[in-house]
Symmetry: C2
């Protein structure tokens, strides 16, 4: 990465931590400048407005998920294995950016309508990726899923919920979480012997 | 209910809507008084501080879940039926107070430490209720659950996630959501023929 890209990452991580702890509205430009240890000049060079920072942070977060998970969907793998890998990858990304995920999930309302639409479009693209794995499994007859829409929400719920309680310093590694979640979800989705194929 | 209890319910619902839309910190006492159509005298009679209102709102929300779900756990029912009813009841309560649930899940950080502890204790009591159903099912040999802790998080994730996307005016009734979620979760948890009993 270039120095500018590293600096951008550090700025967004510091902003995510403050926005999560204090809330977006309660965080001032002064708080941000102090947290980043920047003088006024550099600060306004990197950050035009607070909303700009929120937008960049949210876009970076959802793009990290898209870039990590999309290649899995495109690989020639069994849909069960794709789901396992997607869950493991999602949890690896999520546990590496807990603050940004919390801000992403709480502060959409704080963006301008145009920027909300841009973020929602990226979020929809990511969710479609997850649903594509489920649809592929149903098509191939390995999953038995009655509502792909609701099954997609179940997977997203389980993968995202750790942002409420997971501590990277706790006893569970992201891989253990992912393994346990994938096991429970796959048991729920897999077609069993004797069941009819299809959705 | 008494008139005072009805008034309290209306006040907390109006506060939940504002706190959800604007965020707790960005909502002023002036905003709250206007939203409630109250004059200054009545307003300060009902509301001492903004944090007091947040605390009452969060306590009312978690107590609504505890009061609705606890009786199910105590009934002499098959653990699978208990889980089905708990999910249906949770979704009925949640879809009836989406704003309060969002505030509950986002604004814990805005309470004083003592009040945070009080709310967390109630939340833990509710989560223990859900885990008790899973433990009972594992004990009875109808569920096969490797980690009761993580299985509890899976159930809570699936039951709570709709606060992010569900619209009471949309096409899905809370009962349909609950039915689909219970079906997927029970498939994931149920012991299958030929599997050993226990956790």
């Amino acid at each position: 990465m270039t120095t500018a890209a590293v600096r951008e990452g550090e700025i967004l991580a510091a902003a995510a931590r403050l926005f999560r702890e204090k809330g977006y509205h309660a965080t001032s430009m002064q708080d941000l400048a102090e947290a980043m240890g920047m003088n006024r000049g550099s600060f306004y060079y990197y950050i035009r407005t607070k909303e700009d920072l929120l937008f960049r942070l949210m876009r970076q977060a959802i793009q990290a998920f898209i870039e990590a998970v999309t290649p899995i969907v495109e690989q020639p793998l069994d849909p069960r294995e794709k789901l396992r890998r997607a869950i493991a990858t999602h949890l690896r990304v999520l546990t590496g950016m807990m603050d940004a995920v919390a801000v992403f999930l709480h502060e959409l309302k704080s963006l301008s309508p145009a920027r909300q639409r841009e973020i929602v479009a990226l979020r929809d693209r990511y969710e479609a990726c997850i649903r594509a794995i489920l649809a592929e499994g149903a098509q191939a007859g390995v999953f038995r899923i009655e509502s792909p829409k609701l099954a997609g929400f179940v997977v997203l719920a389980v993968m995202n919920w750790p942002y409420h309680w997971y501590s990277p310093d706790g006893e569970l590694a992201p891989e253990e979480l992912a393994g346990a979640f994938a096991h429970m979800l796959l048991r729920g989705f897999e077609r069993r012997d004797g069941e009819e194929e299809g959705q």
